[in-house]
Amino acid sequence: MNETNGYILEVKKVSKEFPGVQALDAVDLSLRRGEVQALVGENGAGKSTLIKILAGVYRKDGGEVLFEGRPIELHSSSDSLHLGIKVVFQELALIPYMSVAENVFLESFPLKGNRTIDWKTMNGETGKILRSVGLDLNPSTPIHNLTVSQQQMVEIGRALSHEARVVIMDEPTSALTPNEIQSLFEAIRRLKAMGIGVLYVTHKLEEVFELCDRVTVFRDGKLISTREVAETNTDQVVTDMVGRSITTLFPRTHSGKGEAVLEVRKLSTEKKLREVSFEVCAGEVVGVFGLLGAGRTELAKAIFGLDPATGGEVSVRDQRLKLGSAVQSARSGVGLLTEDRKEEGLVLQMSVTQNITLPSLKEFATMGFIRRRDEQERSQEFVNRFSIKTPSLRHKVEYLSGGNQQKVLLARWLMKKLQVIILDEPTRGIDVGAKAEIHKLVDELAREGLAVLVMTSEMPELLGVSDRILVMSGGRITGEFDKDEATQEKVLAAAIVGGE
């Protein structure tokens, strides 16, 4: 049977319901041969659910899926694979201690006379497949010796060994360097040339516009639109995603900086930092950029005292801080929003109010006992101000979405009246709608006169938010740019210099 209309994959009115929740609502989607189609949408919009149905992990409740014109039933992941649909999840499904070749041919080892594995053929075929995606590797290398980027390529190679016709990639670039991203894009373009259809799920709109042919937007379980990339722009896509228009992603209202508040001199740590020195002024937003392993998080933690330092000094308004003492830093007016807000920032079982007021308890205490009403009132102020969406102040924070959780953390620091705030990847894993609100809050922090230090790996955010940019590489500061003179190229150039 032939594919109809040149579509390799068609999803018709597919629905999926979970207890009390309509995850997908009569979704219609089509994928052409040799097309790269982006799937975008906020967290919980339904893209992951669709992917899992196509992978055979979930079973659809209604509608049908057509593969090359034929309706198919997907009961398990091996069904999908054998039919020719390969999904590359964020958590790669490779066996670390086996070799590349063994993983590529995992479900279908070539056999000699039906008994023993034909290593020669296997390695040979693997070599061919790897080269076709532009990867030059020894097929017997064990997986755990490869980088994440190389492992992803192996997964793609696996797809090819099964003669996949559809490859679905789920947020593939979150752990990749810019170079590795380019290699991935190359590999995907090669898949395109082979006539394979690619569904590409991502948060990063710049990738959509660089790589993809069409972009499909999900919202609240429904498919909102499918547009040709050449005929649309970021704003339109964002509007579809969020359901309302977002005029600017990076509002900047603060201006002018005061005197130096945070001074870091020759700060070093045992493993990473090498004599880092810089300062941040009141009302200033300094963005720190670096590739994976450059030392941004180490810097944040060392300044705050969460990790020990081996040398140097940190001062807040000329008052030297005791290195390695988080408690002291907190009491001296320094706040830290960690990269991993669930692991290190929020107390998940505590309520919104309790999380917001945690560092400020003394303000609300009489003789050691908390004045609950005061606490509630002040927290309500912040919830209103930041539009934190929660059914009540007593709601446990673990049930809020990522964006609202982050707002709670920011509210916490704003309530505290800090001098310095360090934000490590404040918008990681947060969808576009919430991102803009977070940036607004960062702006507000600066407006209130705080010295703001923002660590980020997202270039648009860096360029949009910062008054001044510091670039790190190999534990050192390798570049410094004012807002006006900074460009993506200059920043990247500094980021790869002197890497170890």
Partner: protein
């Protein structure tokens, strides 16, 4: 997270959301069932017995709840109870003063708690292992101190009153328990200290970043826990009328079982005193009921075990029910 819509919930789901209500319900159901089998159950004597008998476990349970909230545990309280009893009786014998004897016992508790706390925070030894070691050290040491039980040579009435006396109709151990319970109820729910306990157990790093002296707090909690266990030990030695080196065996497990039945999590960050009180009462009522009903005494452990498993299962369902209330 897949859901953005408001989810539906079953009635059962909503009811069990309120853990304490469910526990009280269980307690009532069990009590009614036992009463049908034997009217002696709800006699004043029996109720007071149950309460007085539970007082030691509840007092120790207050400390254990606080400790579990911070994410730690203490398995040495059984051995501590024995040692405190021996020391208290011995010192009272030797000095003729009940006050000195009791202070000696409480002092031993404080010292033990301090060591447990330091081992955890400075030596960074996991509290499960650390307190098991302390349990063995205490149990061995009490025999080195006194190989035979210490009899009551002083005959002081004040000593007798602690465990056996009454104020009006209320047994003194019950009175002690109520006073301590109310004090700590306030502290845990309303004070900065209480909030800090939950924060430290819920997320150690977050608490640290917020300026809470997390290590100091843990040490303080270990000390409070051991002092409270020592109070239970003083009550016990008064009731037994001798300091027994072999007392308290299994005490730590029955306290922890009651605390967990009451909804406190072994992982830290959660727990209430009300839950602990009812959890301990439920287990005590089961044991009492089995004797009153003249059932085989071996059933005590079996039924308690079943109740604990059911309770933890329901607790898990409750967590799932709650997780359906996700908002964007």
């Amino acid at each position: 997270m897949e859901a953005t819509a408001k989810p539906k919930q079953s009635l059962f789901g909503r009811l069990i959301l309120f853990n304490e209500i469910m526990l009280v319900g269980v307690l009532l159901i069990i009590s009614v069932l036992i009463s049908i089998g034997t009217p002696r159950f709800y006699s004043t004597t029996n109720i007071l017995n149950i309460l007085r008998d539970s007082s030691m476990a509840v007092i120790a349970g207050i400390g254990m709840t606080m400790l579990l909230i911070t994410g730690e545990v203490d398995l040495s309280i059984g051995s501590l109870v024995a040692f405190v009893g021996v020391v208290t009786m011995d010192i009272t014998n030797k000095t003729g003063s009940v006050l000195l004897g009791v202070l000696a016992g409480l002092g031993l508790g404080a010292a033990t708690g301090l060591i447990n706390g330091l081992v955890r925070t400075k030596l960074k030894v996991n509290s499960l292992i650390g307190t098991i070691a302390m349990m063995m050290i205490l149990r061995g040491s009490v025999y080195l101190y006194k190989i035979e039980a210490v009899q009551n040579y002083h005959g002081l009435n004040a000593f007798f009153q602690i465990g056996n006396g009454y104020v009006g109709f209320m047994p003194i151990p019950l009175l002690i328990m109520i006073v301590l319970y109310v004090i700590f109820l306030f502290v845990i729910n309303r004070s900065v200290l209480g909030r800090s306990l939950y924060a430290t157990g819920g997320n150690y790093t977050a608490a640290k970043i917020s300026g809470i002296n997390v290590d100091g707090l843990k040490i303080l909690t270990f000390v409070m826990n051991s002092i409270l266990a020592a109070v239970a030990g003083v009550i016990l030695v008064s009731r037994m009328n001798s300091g027994q080196p072999n007392a308290g065996q299994g005490f730590e497990l029955s306290v922890i079982a009651g605390v967990i039945l009451g909804g406190t999590s072994l992982g830290g960050g959660e727990g209430t005193l009300i839950g602990t009180l009812i959890g301990i009462l439920i287990l005590r009522v089961i044991n009492n009921g089995i004797i009153l009903l003249r059932w085989n005494q071996d059933l005590q452990i079996v039924i308690s075990g079943i109740v604990i498993i059911l309770a933890v299962y329901i607790d898990n369902r409750r967590k799932i029910a709650r997780s359906k209330i996700i908002t964007t």
